[in-house]
Symmetry: C2
Subunit: 159 residues, 2 copies
C-alpha cells in the first residue's frame, strides 16, 4: 500500500486561502459608496449587494450543510439588509462560523460526496473550491463596478 | 509517524479543476466580437485581449518555471497577436503544454518554495492556486464586458 506523508494542500492552508479571499472581498464591500452598493450595476447585472447576498447565502449555509449533512435548500437575502454596515457585520459573523465549522472536517470528509443545498451532488472538495471560485468571480465583477465609479479597487494579491 | 492515505485533492483533480476553468475562459474569448475583444473596456481597465495576454503570460511560463526551476521574468503580449483566432490557437497550445508539464510534478513538489518569475517566493501550491484565482478574477471582469455589450456569458458552472 502506498502511503502519503505529503499533502498537496492541508485543510488548514485551504481555510487560510478561503479566508484570505474573504478578507479581500470585505475590503471591496467597504470601498463601495453606500448608495452604489445597493443601486449601481452594469449591463443589467445584479448590484454588488445582491452578489454579496449570494456569497453570504453560500458560505456558512453551504459549509454547515457539509458538516451537519443537512441539505437545506439555497436561500439568499432573506434578512433584507439595508445598510452596508449590516453586511459587514454579517460578513464577520460568517468568518467566525466558517472557522468553527471547518474544525469539524477531517481530510477524509473532503472526498465524500455531498448533495449541496439538496441540488449539487459533488465531492466536498469540489463544493468548497466552488465557494471560493464563485466569490472570486463575483468580486472580479465588483472590481469593474468600482472602476466604473472611479474608485481604485484593492490589489488582487492583498489578502 | 502519521501517514495519510487520503488527499484533500489529488494532483490529477487539481489539473482537471484548472483546465475546466481554462475551458470556460476559452468560451468567454470566443463570445467576444472580434473588435470588442481588442478595444472594449470599462472605467479605464484593460481590454479583454490584454487580460488574456496576462493569463497566457502566467500559465505556461509560470508552470514551466516551477517544473524546470528557471526563474525567467514575467512577460506578456510579446507576440503581439492581432486576431482572436491567434489567441484561441495559443490558448489551445497552452492547454497541451500545461498537461505535459503537470505530469512532471510530484505531490512533494507542491510544498516546495519557488521564486515565481524571480519575484514571488511562495510554496508551489500557492503559486498554482494564484494562477487559477487570477484567471477567475479577470474572467469575471470579462463577464461584465460581455453583459455591457449585450452578450450573455456562459454559465459560470460550465467547464
Amino acid at each position: 500500500m502506498k502511503t502519503l506523508a505529503a499533502q498537496l494542500i492541508t485543510p488548514e492552508d485551504l481555510l487560510i486561502h478561503w479566508q484570505g479571499h474573504r478578507a479581500l472581498t470585505r475590503r471591496v464591500i467597504e470601498l463601495f459608496p453606500e448608495k452604489d452598493f445597493f443601486e449601481f450595476s452594469i449591463g443589467g447585472m445584479r448590484t454588488f449587494s445582491k452578489l454579496v447576498d449570494e456569497l453570504l447565502g453560500i458560505a456558512v449555509p453551504g459549509l454547515k450543510g457539509i458538516v451537519t449533512k443537512e441539505t437545506a435548500p439555497f436561500t439568499e437575502g432573506a434578512e433584507k439588509l439595508i445598510f452596508k454596515a449590516q453586511y459587514l457585520e454579517k460578513w464577520d459573523q460568517a468568518t467566525e462560523e466558517i472557522n468553527q465549522y471547518w474544525q469539524q472536517l477531517s481530510i477524509e470528509d473532503f472526498n465524500e460526496t455531498f448533495n449541496l443545498f439538496g441540488q449539487y451532488e459533488f465531492p466536498v472538495i469540489q463544493n468548497i473550491l466552488y465557494f471560493v471560485d464563485n466569490e472570486v468571480h463575483h468580486r472580479g465583477q465588483g472590481y469593474v463596478y468600482l472602476r466604473a465609479l472611479g474608485i481604485d479597487p484593492p490589489f488582487f494579491w492583498e489578502r
